[in-house]
C-alpha cells in the first residue's frame, strides 16, 4: 500500500499520516498566534500611555493570555510540525506511531483550550510565569500539564521515527544537519518538560488544596528550568530552520558539518540550569552559583550561537559565490531574493536575533548588570527580539515555503506575503529598540499604569520614557499589522489559494489526507548523501565567506561596546554589597 507522495516542485516525500499531523499542528499554531496577536495589540495599546486602552483587570488578563499563546502554544504547536517534518519528510520514512502522535495532538489541544478558558474566566491573571504564592484556578495549571504531556508524546514520536529511519536504512550515512538540529531541540524539550512537570504538578496539587505550601523561591528556580530551557528549544528549532532555508533557496551546504553540529551540541550541554539567568537578583543564592550557572565559566551556549551566526550566512555566501556572485564583499547578499518572503523573513530573523536579541540577552544575563535591568521593560524587549522576531519570523518564513509543498496551495496575495516580513520586522524592531530604551530609564514590565494614578505617593518617570513608550506603541501596532498580514496570507492560501493538487480541498488544508491517488510511492528511494564537491577547498582556500566575516566582526564590535556601556552605567548607581 503506497503511503508516500512526492512533491513535484520540491522533491520532498511526505508520509500520509505525518503530512496530516504537520498540517494539523501548524494550523493549531496559527490559531494560537492569532489569539496572541489580538491580545498583544491590547497590551501594547495600553502600555502606550497616551492611548491606555484597557482597564487594569483586562490588561493583566490580556497580558497573561498573550504570553501563553505566543510563547508556549503557537511556538510549540509549530515546533511539533517541524519535528515531524525534520524526521519523516527529510529522512523519507514513515512516522512512528501515528496514533500516539494524534493522541499527543489531542492532549495539546485540550490543554491549550483548558488553559485559555481559565485565563478568559478572569481568575487566573497570573502572567505566564504564575509565580507562587499568587494562585491561578486549578485548570490553568492542568491545561499546561496536559499540553506538556502531549508535547512530550510528540518528542517520543520524533525519536521513534529516527529509529525507524535508521532501521529501515532510508538514508545513507548520517542524519542531515537540519534533522540533527531538530534532534537537539527535542532533547532539550524533554528535560524542559521534566522541569515543568516537577514544578507544575505540585503547584496544581497546591491549587486544589492537596499541598498547603509552595516555596516561592523554589518555584522560581524550577519554573525557570522550564521557562528558560524552552527558549533554547526555540533557538535550536529556528537555527535548524535557518539552515533548511539556506539549503532550499541557495543549495547551501554547511561550511563544516563538524562545527555546526558541535555548536548544536553545546546548546544541550550548557543549558542545564539556565534558570540562573532569571534569579540573579533573588535572595539566598550565592554569587558563585549565579556566576557559574549563568555562564558555565565560558559562555559556551553563547559561543554556539555566535558560531551559527557565522556559519548560517557563511554557507549562504559560499553557495552564492559559487554561482558567480563574487563581486566585492556583499554582492552575494545584495543579489539575494529580497522579494521572496522566505528569504527576507529568514534574514531579518537572523540579523535581529543576533544583533539585538543575542547581545541584550547576554548583557542582562550578567550577574551584576542584571541589577539595572531586572523586571524592567528591557526584559520583554529582549525576548521579543529572540522569540517574536528570531523564532516567530523564521517560522513564518518556513510557512511560506510549506504552503505549496505541504498544503499544495499557491500562496494567496503574494504581494502581501512579499511585504509581510518587512512590516513585521520593522514594527518589532521599532518596538524593541524603544522598549530597551524605556527599560534603561527604569520603566517596569507587566505594569498597567506608568502614571501610578490613585497611589497615595507620587512618582513621575522622565518625559523621555513616555515618548519611548509611545514610539514602542507605534512599532507594536505595526508588528501586529505584520502578524495580521501573515495570517491573511496563510489562511487565505489554505482557503482560496490555487490548488496545486486537485484534491487539496478545504478539509485537506486542516489535516485531512489528499486523494488516495496522490500517494503513489510505496517506499521512496534511499536518501543519498550530499554530492561531494569537485574540489574540497575547505581548510586551504583561505576565507571563503569574507562578507559574512565582516558582518560577524560588526556584531562583535557592537557586542563589546554595548557590554561595556552597561558596566559603565552600572558603575554609576548606588554602591551595594
Amino acid at each position: 500500500m503506497a503511503q508516500f507522495r512526492v512533491c513535484p516542485d520540491s522533491g520532498f516525500y511526505f508520509d500520509k499520516s505525518a503530512e496530516s499531523l504537520m498540517k494539523a499542528n501548524a494550523v493549531a499554531g496559527a490559531v494560537a498566534l492569532l489569539v496572541a496577536g489580538i491580545l498583544g495589540l491590547g497590551v501594547i495599546l495600553t502600555r502606550w500611555q497616551e492611548v491606555h486602552l484597557l482597564p487594569a483587570d483586562l490588561f493583566y488578563q490580556a497580558l497573561t493570555g498573550h504570553g501563553l499563546n505566543a510563547l508556549i502554544f503557537w511556538i510549540i504547536f509549530f515546533e511539533v510540525a517541524i519535528l515531524y517534518f525534520a524526521s519523516s519528510t527529510l529522512l523519507r520514512t514513515r512516522l512512528a506511531a501515528p496514533r500516539w502522535a494524534w493522541l499527543g495532538f489531542a492532549l495539546m489541544i485540550i490543554g491549550w483550550i483548558t488553559n485559555n478558558v481559565a485565563v478568559l474566566q478572569g481568575n487566573s491573571s497570573v502572567m505566564m510565569t504564575s509565580y507562587a504564592p499568587m494562585q491561578a484556578a486549578p485548570h490553568f495549571y492542568l491545561g499546561l500539564i496536559l499540553f506538556a504531556v502531549g508535547a512530550l508524546i510528540a518528542c517520543f514520536v520524533f525519536l521513534g521515527t529516527l529509529v525507524i529511519a535508521r532501521d529501515d536504512r532510508t538514508y545513507e550515512g548520517s542524519i542531515p544537519l537540519v534533522t540533527f538540529g531538530a534532534l537537539t531541540a527535542c532533547i532539550i524539550a524533554i528535560f524542559t518538560i521534566a522541569s515543568g512537570a516537577i514544578i507544575l504538578i505540585p503547584t496544581f496539587l497546591w491549587s486544589i488544596g492537596y499541598i498547603n505550601h509552595i516555596d516561592a523561591e523554589m518555584y522560581r528556580v524550577i519554573w525557570w528550568g522550564m521557562g528558560h530551557s524552552s527558549q533554547q528549544i526555540n533557538v535550536a528549532a529556528h537555527v535548524s530552520i535557518w539552515y533548511l532555508i539556506v539549503g532550499v533557496l541557495f543549495g547551501a551546504r554547511p561550511m563544516s558539518e563538524k562545527v555546526s553540529r558541535m555548536a548544536f551540541l553545546l546548546y544541550i550541554l550548557f543549558l542545564q540550569l539556565a534558570s540562573a539567568h532569571h534569579i540573579l537578583v533573588d535572595p539566598g543564592i550565592s554569587s558563585e552559583w549565579k556566576i557559574f550557572n549563568t555562564s558555565y565559566a565560558m559562555y559556551l551556549a553563547v559561543l554556539a550561537s555566535m558560531i551559527h551566526g557565522l556559519t548560517v550566512p557563511g554557507s549562504m555566501e559560499v553557495a552564492q559565490r559559487r554561482k558567480g556572485l563574487t563581486k566585492g564583499m556583499f554582492e552575494w547578499l545584495r543579489k539575494a531574493p529580497w522579494g521572496n518572503p522566505v528569504f527576507s523573513g529568514f534574514f531579518f530573523s537572523l540579523i535581529i536575533f543576533g544583533f539585538i536579541g543575542g547581545i541584550t540577552g547576554v548583557v542582562m544575563g550578567t550577574e551584576q548588570i542584571n541589577l539595572i535591568i531586572h523586571n524592567t521593560i528591557y526584559v520583554p524587549a529582549h525576548f521579543h527580539a529572540t522569540v517574536a522576531v528570531g523564532t516567530t519570523l523564521a517560522f513564518m518564513a518556513l510557512t511560506y515555503l510549506l504552503i505549496p509543498v505541504l498544503f499544495r496551495r499557491q500562496v494567496f496575495l503574494p504581494w502581501v506575503a512579499k511585504w509581510q516580513p518587512y512590516v513585521f520586522a520593522s514594527g518589532m524592531t521599532l518596538m524593541i529598540l524603544f522598549m530597551l530604551g524605556a527599560g534603561t530609564l527604569g520603566v517596569s514590565r507587566r505594569h498597567w499604569d506608568m502614571d501610578f494614578a490613585g497611589s497615595l505617593l507620587a512618582f513621575e518617570y522622565p518625559g523621555t520614557a513616555y515618548t519611548m513608550m509611545a514610539v514602542a506603541g507605534i512599532g507594536g501596532v505595526l508588528a501586529v499589522l505584520g502578524g495580521a498580514m501573515f495570517l491573511l496570507v496563510t489562511v487565505g492560501s489554505l482557503l482560496f489559494g490555487k490548488r496545486l493538487d486537485e484534491s487539496a480541498g478545504f478539509l485537506q488544508s486542516f489535516g485531512f489526507a489528499l486523494a488516495p491517488a496522490s500517494y503513489n510511492v510505496e517506499q521512496p528511494e534511499r536518501l543519498p548523501m550530499a554530492p561531494r564537491l569537485a574540489v574540497e577547498e575547505h581548510g586551504s582556500a583561505g576565507f571563503e565567506a569574507p562578507g559574512t566575516f565582516a558582518l560577524a566582526l560588526a556584531l562583535l564590535v557592537c557586542f563589546v561596546v554595548y557590554y561595556f556601556i552597561n558596566w559603565d552605567y552600572l558603575a554609576s548607581v548606588w554602591p551595594l554589597s
Binding site: A56, M134, I279, G284, G539, A541, L570
Partner: protein
C-alpha cells in the same frame, strides 16, 4: 543541497574545518572568557554587587522587626505611612505587601545601611527610581544588603513584579539627606 541531506563524508567528523571558522571560534571564545571574568572581577574591584546574605523568615517574624524599628525611630508620617530615620550604619527594614512599601526611610548621603527586604504575601519587585536598582522580593526570605546612597534627594520604590490588580498603586519612598 546539503543542509538537509546527509553529509557528503560518511565520517564528517574527520573532515577539515575552514580557516575562517577556526579564527571566528577563537575570537568568540576569547570574548566569552572576558565576559565570564568580568563577573568575578567586579566582585573584587566593582562597587555594585549583589548581597548573598539572606535568611528564611515568616511574615510575622519580619513584621515584628519592622514594627520595632518604626517604634524606635519614627520621625513623622506621610500619606499614612510612618517616616523612619534610622541611625547611620544600622539595620534598616522595608517590607512589601499588597500594595505598599512600608515604611518610608530617611537616610543620610554617603552613609552605609544594612537594608533588609521581605514580602508579607506575594512576590514583589524592589525597583529604586530614578537610580534604577532592581531586586526580587520573595515571601519567606529576608534579603540583607549594604546600601550606600551617594546622591541626595527623593527616591521612589516602584513595585516591578506583578502583584495583582493594585500593582500600579504600590509605591514607596526613600529620602536621602545631605549630612
Amino acid at each position: 543541497m546539503s543542509t538537509f541531506l546527509p553529509p557528503a563524508e560518511r565520517n564528517w567528523w574527520s573532515s577539515p574545518v575552514g580557516k575562517q571558522e577556526i579564527v571566528w571560534i577563537g575570537i568568540a571564545l576569547v570574548w566569552c572568557l572576558i565576559m565570564f571574568l568580568m563577573m568575578p572581577y567586579w566582585h573584587i574591584y566593582g562597587k555594585q554587587n549583589l548581597s548573598t546574605e539572606a535568611y528564611q523568615t515568616s511574615p510575622q517574624r519580619y513584621q515584628a522587626k519592622v514594627d520595632a524599628m518604626v517604634a524606635e525611630h519614627q520621625v513623622g508620617t506621610e500619606a499614612g505611612v510612618p517616616v523612619v530615620r534610622p541611625p547611620v550604619g544600622s539595620d534598616v527594614y522595608m517590607l512589601a505587601r499588597l500594595w505598599q512599601w512600608y515604611p518610608i526611610l530617611e537616610l543620610q548621603k554617603n552613609q552605609s545601611y544594612r537594608l533588609h527586604l521581605s514580602s508579607m504575601d506575594w512576590q514583589h519587585g524592589f525597583s529604586l527610581q530614578p537610580v534604577n536598582i532592581n531586586m526580587q522580593v520573595v515571601p519567606g526570605y529576608e534579603m540583607v544588603l549594604t546600601m550606600t546612597p551617594d546622591q541626595s534627594g527623593e527616591f521612589t520604590v516602584v513595585c516591578n513584579e506583578y502583584c495583582g490588580i493594585g500593582h500600579h498603586l504600590m509605591l514607596g519612598k526613600i529620602y536621602v539627606k545631605e549630612n
